[in-house]
């Protein structure tokens, strides 16, 4: 009995710290509609800054809590700084751009933290006066945990009072429902948004700071916590603080007891619960169905056009160049080209559901990884050959997409993105935690191509063949009735239903198709590297795909190809540097803020009509 109570209290203590992060995220989302990946970075900064302040300030109760408060406020100010310099410029941008921009911030902050605090984990002090444990029903409960259990509801109360008893709170709640109306009533929106960012990031900083006595400050904190915080916010209802509290307790307890019942799949549990909640109540436990969201979306995409004769010849020339490449380039270049080709197929498959499909997927790495793991597991346990492995890869990925897609297409916008993310996290958790089967963190090794294809050049040609086949097929599908119906559904869901098209089925099948081709890319990848690790399914791999698509330009079919090429080349160049993340993050931010139409869109403006097939009308506009 006492053991279960202790477990329950541990769950509550974790819930408190989770709640602090999630409530801040929820508040920021409620008003600005930005799903802020960088919120995890605020949490991490809170922990690091608290560590620094504790070192600087006199030791003791006052010094400790003074440091915690100072760290929270400092994070709040960092939030304000980011809001003024960056987020303010992207409030009107499509959701996808915002998500990716905040991920860029994550990368930049990671490297800044690495630069300031170093790569070592930093162990903070225990909280003075709360070092001991209290015995409850015979079980020792850390005093600090009890303090956290009190802190959570106290902050909830404070936030509730702030929102319901102050003029500021009334304005924020009004803006959560209809921000256009609030600004029409003469409220200074920018100041309101900035202050919301301050409150939200201060809470995240507080969450990180109070975590210090329980967990060492490390560079992995940001992405670890943001996954859980997203889960909590989605379960609780985006924009609802009491919802965030309820969901934090739910997830905290789920983790505390889940580890007793299913130690193998604790990481999956939270995401499974989130998926169930999204399906049953898409707007969360205490959230409201769609708040009013107005605002300009970009100009409509131009109609699809075929290649002009000149551009067709150029592309054929490029293909010819790729065919002769192994004869003129060294082996290193051939391997790099193989990588580029694989990621091009990955990016093109993602672009297929995001561009023509209009479905933002934040978890496309799941299908890449499913393909890779599917083939690798079959090789490991059944000893199948390479050709069979390359057939298994898309089949496994396609089945995964069939299952996840069925749920995902029922949602739209941010919620869809969150569910695709949850799906990817579920597959990642399984690969990471189910060590007996997947090898966990150690991955699966020794997946080599068949004898005849083991030479780098032969494997390059095999990749070239499959990737070009895949890209050509996807391009045909986009121009075929299937792709047209998909695009039609993106343009006007109302109209496609009114001309007899079942949009959900159309999107579901597109999801599967994209999954299949990502799976082929995954299969090619595992054989080219000889191994596979859970990283290939992680959030950062999904974001890689998104950045490729954005970098190239989402409105162009050539976009993902150009994007994958420049991304992989850039990655190859900068990952050799110590601080490559900051460069990468910088590139992402640059695209989102300065060149949202991507490289292909940018080039289109400059290139002559003979290449782009622009009509006179467009040329004039």
């Amino acid at each position: 009995m006492g053991f279960y109570l202790a477990q329950f209290l541990t769950g509550l203590a974790s819930a408190s710290s989770l709640f602090l992060v999630a409530s801040g995220l929820s508040i920021i989302f409620g008003v600005t509609r930005i799903v802020n990946f960088a919120h995890g970075s605020f949490f991490m900064l809170g922990a690091y800054l608290a560590y620094t302040f504790v070192e600087l300030m006199p030791h003791g109760i006052l010094g400790f809590w003074g440091s915690v408060i100072a760290a929270s406020l400092a994070v709040g100010l960092i939030g304000v700084l980011l809001e003024i310099t960056l987020f303010r410029r992207i409030y009107k941008a499509p959701e996808l751009f915002q998500l990716v921009a905040t991920f860029g911030v994550v990368l930049v902050i990671q490297d800044l933290a690495l630069w300031i605090w170093g790569a070592e984990d930093l162990f903070g002090p225990r909280a003075p006066g709360l070092e001991g444990a209290v015995r409850i029903l015979g079980e020792p409960i850390p005093q600090y945990d009890l303090a956290l259990i009190v802190l959570g509801p106290a902050v909830l109360l404070g936030v509730w009072l702030l929102f319901n008893k102050t003029r500021w709170g009334t304005l924020v709640r009004a803006a959560t429902q209809d921000r256009e109306m609030v600004s029409a009533l003469g409220v200074n929106q920018s100041r309101l948004f900035t202050s919301v960012f301050f409150v939200g990031s201060t809470l995240a900083g507080l969450g990180g700071a109070v975590q210090l006595p329980r967990e060492a400050a490390s560079l992995l904190m940001d992405l670890n916590v943001i996954g859980e915080a997203f889960v909590v916010v989605v379960i609780g209802g985006m924009g609802s603080v009491p919802g965030a509290f309820l969901a934090s307790v739910l997830i905290g307890e789920l983790n505390a007891f889940g580890i007793l019942v299913f130690p193998e799949i604790t990481l999956v549990l939270a995401f499974l619960v989130m998926a169930v909640v999204l399906i049953v109540r898409p707007w969360g436990l205490l959230g409201r169905p769609d708040a009013v969201l107005r605002g300009a979306s970009g100009p409509p995409e131009e109609p699809l056009r075929l290649f002009t004769p000149l551009s067709r010849n150029l592309i054929l020339g490029l293909v010819g160049l790729l065919i002769v490449a192994p004869f003129i380039a060294d082996e290193f270049t051939v391997v790099l080209l193989t990588d580029i080709l694989i990621f091009t197929l990955f990016a093109v498959s993602l672009h297929f559901i995001m561009g023509p499909g209009g479905l933002v997927s934040f978890g496309h790495a799941a299908y890449f990884g499913l393909g890779a793991y599917g083939a690798a597991l079959m090789v490991k346990y059944l000893g199948i050959g390479m050709i069979s492995g390359l057939v298994v890869a898309p089949v496994v990925a396609g089945i995964g997409a069939l299952i996840f897609g069925w749920f995902c297409v029922r949602l739209s916008g941010v919620y869809l993105a969150m569910l695709t993310l949850a799906a990817a996290q579920i597959t990642w958790s399984i690969a990471f935690q189910w060590q007996d089967v997947t090898g966990g963190d150690d991955g699966i090794l020794g997946i080599w191509p068949a004898e005849w294809a083991s030479d780098k050049m032969t494997y390059y040609y095999l990749t070239l063949l499959l990737v070009f086949g895949g890209i050509y097929f996807i391009r045909r599908v986009v121009y075929a009735p299937f792709g047209f119906a998909l695009r039609a559904g993106r343009d006007s869901a109302l109209r496609v239903e009114a001309i007899g098209i079942n949009l959900k089925t159309q999107q579901w099948m597109a999801f599967v198709l994209a999954g299949v081709f990502a799976g082929i890319a995954g299969g090619l990848y595992v054989y080219s590297k000889g191994s596979i690790f859970p990283d290939e399914l992680a959030i950062s791999r999904s974001v890689d795909g998104l950045v490729m698509v954005l970098l190239g330009g989402i409105q162009s079919l050539l976009g993902p190809i150009i994007g994958a090429l420049s991304f992989t080349l850039l990655e190859d160049l900068v990952t050799r540097l110590d601080y490559w993340r900051i460069i990468f993050g910088g590139v992402i931010l640059f695209i989102v803020v300065i060149a949202p139409e991507g490289l292909a869109g940018f080039a289109r403006k400059l290139l002559p009509d003979r290449l782009t097939g622009k009509t006179e009308e467009e040329a004039r506009s």
Binding site: P303, F484, R487, L494, A498, I501
Partner: protein
């Protein structure tokens, strides 16, 4: 037998009875207008007919088939076309491709993965565009059309599968007065030439009186009057609850535009 037979259709939202015991019939080749003040229940009625809303009670027989319980897709396949108050078209396609999309769906080709959509049913699409006077703009992007042209395009999309009945929710909303007349004359001529039936809601009384064979007046969810334009003009109850003083409906007065 009438083409459409609606019997005691009702719908309430919470405590509000939006539509109450609405019954009417529509003959083949007839243009029937549904009018009424804001909040009378016109759009609710419409949305139940095309399957976007589920009726609480009542039956809707189209060509002898029950429509209640079917979704909009199935109802469309039975031969009912629809235009919306705010046009719903595919902005990233050309004008012709918009119509081709409807034709592809009609011929059940939307899962076809290989042939080019832009080459499918081209003549048929051009014929439909010609019918509404949009052929000369067939290759333009839909996203840059003027609103009046979008309305005409939407009409040709709605006609693509050769429907027997066309539901038009405020077909002239948001258009300039001259465009309204042109569009409704176009609809009238199509009705005359093809024997299609049209049920439409409308705020512009000039349009209603000039182009409907029959009118129904809806108020607070109930039909309070039905008949020809003259009968409705002279109906005292209609004058009282809907027309106010009735001056707007003097036959001679032109250009009274209601938003």
């Amino acid at each position: 037998m009438s083409l459409l037979a609606v019997h005691t259709l009702s719908k309430s939202f919470g405590g509000v009875q939006a539509v109450k015991d609405v019954s009417f019939e529509l003959a083949a080749g007839e243009m029937l207008a549904l009018i009424g003040p804001n909040g009378a229940g016109k759009t609710t009625c419409f949305n139940m007919l095309n399957g976007q809303l589920k009726a609480d009670t009542g039956t809707v027989l189209f060509d002898g088939k029950e429509l209640i319980g079917l979704n909009p897709r199935t109802i469309w396949r039975l031969g009912i076309g629809r235009t919306f108050q705010i046009t719903a078209t595919f902005a990233s396609m050309t004008v012709r491709e918009n119509v081709q999309m409807a034709l592809l769906s009609h011929h059940r080709k939307v899962f076809s993965l290989w042939p080019r959509a832009a080459d499918s049913f081209k003549e048929e699409a051009d014929g439909l565009l010609d019918q509404v006077g949009m052929l000369h703009q067939a290759d333009r992007a839909c996203g840059i059309l003027a609103y009046g042209d979008l309305k005409r395009l939407e009409l040709s999309i709605a006609l693509a599968h050769g429907p027997k009945l066309l539901l038009m929710d405020e077909p002239t909303a948001g258009m300039a007065p001259q465009e309204r007349i042109t569009l409704m004359e176009l609809v009238s001529s199509i009705v005359k030439n093809t024997d299609i039936s049209v049920l439409f809601t409308e705020h512009d009384m000039d349009v209603v009186f000039a182009h409907s064979d029959r009118l129904m007046v809806l108020n607070r969810g109930e039909i309070i009057a039905a008949g020809t334009a003259d009968e409705i003009r002279n109906n005292d109850l209609v004058k009282e609850v809907y027309l106010g003083g009735g001056s707007t409906f003097d036959a001679g007065e032109k250009g009274a535009v209601h938003a």
